[in-house]
């Protein structure tokens, strides 16, 4: 392969910009997926009062404010050395389940679903939520909108504010749940379960029973045998709000489990000259570049990887579907746990299983006698000075790390956001997709943008704070360069 020198121009901030470098034979040598980094969060935060962080960090992003709010408030529990009462934890988790339901629903119907339900080859004008609804019926469209609305209402009711919730406090939650609210949430949760089962049925009927799509899901186009990361409870069941971080190796053996507060012993961040965003990797495996396999520290933190690290699901219906998915991929059990599935498009399936789990768990919490307890807050008595909080955001493990002085004024802040975890695997999937579309200098231009986009869309990357300059769903520009670095083709969505 000819040595590629990266022109400084490739360091310019792009907006979902992808650079593809060809070798002398005209095959793909390398691909670079550039994500603009938002700057100065550390500087912005230092000097503020730590307790302001849940209402500041939830503004980082308009899409996943609930995840930031929860990771932040958990970091504050530790920073102030205070353990919230059980009811407060349950209220947080209840709200968080409602959030997962809205987020996963939106992703499936508006983003991921169109590729399967309408088809990857369909023109972009049809490959969107409108196309999905034309195909599955207006009634489903209403259900999607209703599902979002009723869960947003729950979030507002529990969180005190619709989008940028304000309920979280160090040591608990600011407001107890009344019996009337509880009843309403219970009803919403039941509707969510029906909706999740129904969504899985759509996936079953339209994807798994369609030979072409099933082949797409199970083919090796987007197969990467990486490590998997996710949060599990004491019984090694998937948990979105609390537990320990578990990492399994590409063959499914547990590599490590650690409390979120130990993340720095396990995760390091690789800096590459061509991008501002860092690549987190498993420190104790090491960085071998953007490659998969047992010796590469690249890991994934997605709905699929969360199921890969779990022995089982904590709710009965989700468990049935969990087993069904692993069986469908012919996954065998090792030490009582299914071997991981590495077919990345199965992430869409895993997301629906998580939707069902979130709905069922929401029902459990809404029926928990303790959920209406007025004991929702413990007042912090001191300042420990360091707080690390972590939750599973819909798009990967999210970690907030704060250090404060003795007054609780922040002196340092570090965040590892969900999407960043998956930067390396996303880049690998993009390369794989490009390799299938470019050979000996010939490009398959038909549907190229969408096929490349499918590679990262399955990770549900949340770059929404920084990537909306062009029309369309996801601004995307693909630049193809020959072995001398000259641009041979630029593709851009109109």
């Amino acid at each position: 392969m000819k040595k590629i020198s990266i022109d400084p121009i490739t360091r310019l901030e792009g907006h979902g910009k992808i650079e593809i470098f060809l070798n002398e034979e005209g095959d793909v040598a390398n691909t670079y997926f550039q994500v603009p980094e938002l700057r100065g969060f550390e500087r912005f935060s230092v000097g503020r009062l730590a307790e302001d962080m849940p209402v500041i960090t939830n503004r980082i992003c308009g899409v996943c404010p609930e995840a930031h709010h929860m990771a932040s408030v958990k970091a504050l529990d530790m920073l102030f050395g205070v353990e919230p009462p059980p009811a407060a934890k349950k209220i947080r988790e209840l709200l968080y389940m409602a959030f997962f339901v809205t987020d996963h629903t939106t992703h499936f119907y508006a983003l991921g679903g169109p590729d399967f339900i309408i088809g990857p080859e369909a023109p972009p004008s049809e490959r969107n939520i409108l196309g999905v609804i034309r195909k599955v019926g207006l009634d489903i469209g209403r259900q999607v909108i209703d599902c979002r609305a009723r869960n947003h209402h729950v979030i507002e009711m529990l969180g005190g504010r619709g989008v940028h919730l304000a309920g979280g406090l160090p040591g608990g939650w600011s407001k107890a749940v009344s019996e009337n609210e509880r009843k309403e949430i219970e009803k919403v949760a039941k509707e969510n379960i029906d909706f999740a089962l129904f969504s899985l049925k759509i996936f079953d009927d339209l994807v798994l029973k369609n030979k072409q799509y099933l082949e797409l899901v199970t083919s090796d186009v987007y197969l990467h045998k990486t490590y998997s990361m996710g949060t599990v409870d004491a019984q090694n069941r998937a948990n979105f709000y609390d537990g320990v971080i578990r990492v399994v190796d590409p063959e499914g053996r547990e590599f490590v489990r650690y409390p979120a507060s130990d993340y720095m012993q396990h995760i390091a961040e690789r800096v590459e000259p061509w991008t501002y965003l860092k690549f987190p990797y498993l420190k104790n495996v090491g960085w071998k570049g953007l490659v998969d396999g047992m010796d590469s520290g690249v890991y994934s933190a997605t709905p699929l990887s969360r199921l890969n690290v779990s022995d089982s699901m904590a709710t009965p219906l989700a468990q049935e579907h969990f087993e069904r998915m692993f069986e469908a991929f012919g996954s065998k059990k090792i030490d009582g746990r299914y071997q991981p599935v590495h077919h990345r498009l199965a992430t869409h399936w895993a997301r629906l299983i998580e939707l069902l789990y979130a709905s069922e768990h929401m029902l459990e919490l809404s029926q928990d006698p303790e959920i209406t307890s007025p004991d929702v807050r413990r007042i912090p008595q001191g300042i420990a000075g360091v707080g690390i909080g972590s939750v599973e955001a819909p798009r990967g493990t999210l970690t907030h790390h704060y250090v404060s002085d003795e007054r609780g004024v922040l002196t340092s802040v570090n965040l590892i956001v969900g999407t960043t975890n998956n930067y390396a695997p996303m880049s690998m999937s993009i390369k794989r997709a490009a390799e299938r579309l470019i050979s000996k200098g010939r490009l398959v231009e038909e549907g190229m943008l969408n096929k490349i986009e499918m590679a990262f869309r399955l990770y549900d990357p949340c770059l929404s704070c920084a990537t909306h300059f062009l029309p369309g769903q996801m601004p995307l520009k693909v630049v193809i360069r020959n072995s001398s670095g000259e641009i041979v083709r630029t593709l851009q969505r109109d």
Binding site: L38, V63, A110, L138, R148, D460, S464, Q473
Partner: protein
């Protein structure tokens, strides 16, 4: 007639917060004037942080919507205020939500499902300078554009208010 004024953007991402700031200025002016309610007309002010279906949700139930957003086009001077119809809305920054869909698709979805959506939608875009650094402060020229955009929206609503009243 029910009107909604929506400030769109991220309040901690420097100039991306300009839409939110304009909506807050309008809210303060209307609070002083207490114009709403005099003729059965209402004006609600909302802050929205992501586009797509979320933005469509915020407009549901209204007859008229005014949206203020930051934009990065490179075609205008930073701080310049421009008015758009939804048909040309690709110019502004947050209307498109990478997490779900763009506004025109979201609006079509809403209409397909029979939701009550505004028949009149106007969008004001303010050319931004910096939308990738964390800060609650707008850059200078963009800060100056806040009353200009607020006045443009108020004039669309045929409300005679002195924006200087709401300036700090």
């Amino acid at each position: 007639m029910k009107t909604v004024v929506i400030g769109l953007g991220n309040p901690i991402l420097t100039d991306d917060g300009v839409g939110i700031r304009v909506s807050r200025m309008i809210r303060d002016l209307l609070a002083q004037q207490q114009t709403a309610g005099t003729s059965g007309d209402t004006i609600d002010i909302k802050e929205v942080y992501a586009g797509g279906i979320r933005l469509m949700d915020a407009m549901t139930g209204y007859d008229r919507a005014c949206i203020v957003d930051a934009m990065v086009t490179g075609r205008f001077r930073p701080g310049e205020v421009s008015e758009f119809d939804p048909a040309e809305l690709c110019g502004t920054r947050n209307i498109v939500c990478t997490h779900d869909t763009n506004l025109s698709t979201a609006l079509e979805l809403g209409r397909m499902l029979g939701l009550h959506l505004p028949s009149a939608i106007k969008i004001w875009g303010i050319e931004a300078r910096d939308v990738t650094s964390f800060s609650e402060q707008l850059t200078d020229e963009i800060d100056c554009a806040v009353p200009v955009a607020a006045r443009a929206v108020l004039s669309e609503l045929q409300i005679d208010a002195d924006v200087r009243e709401a300036m700090p």
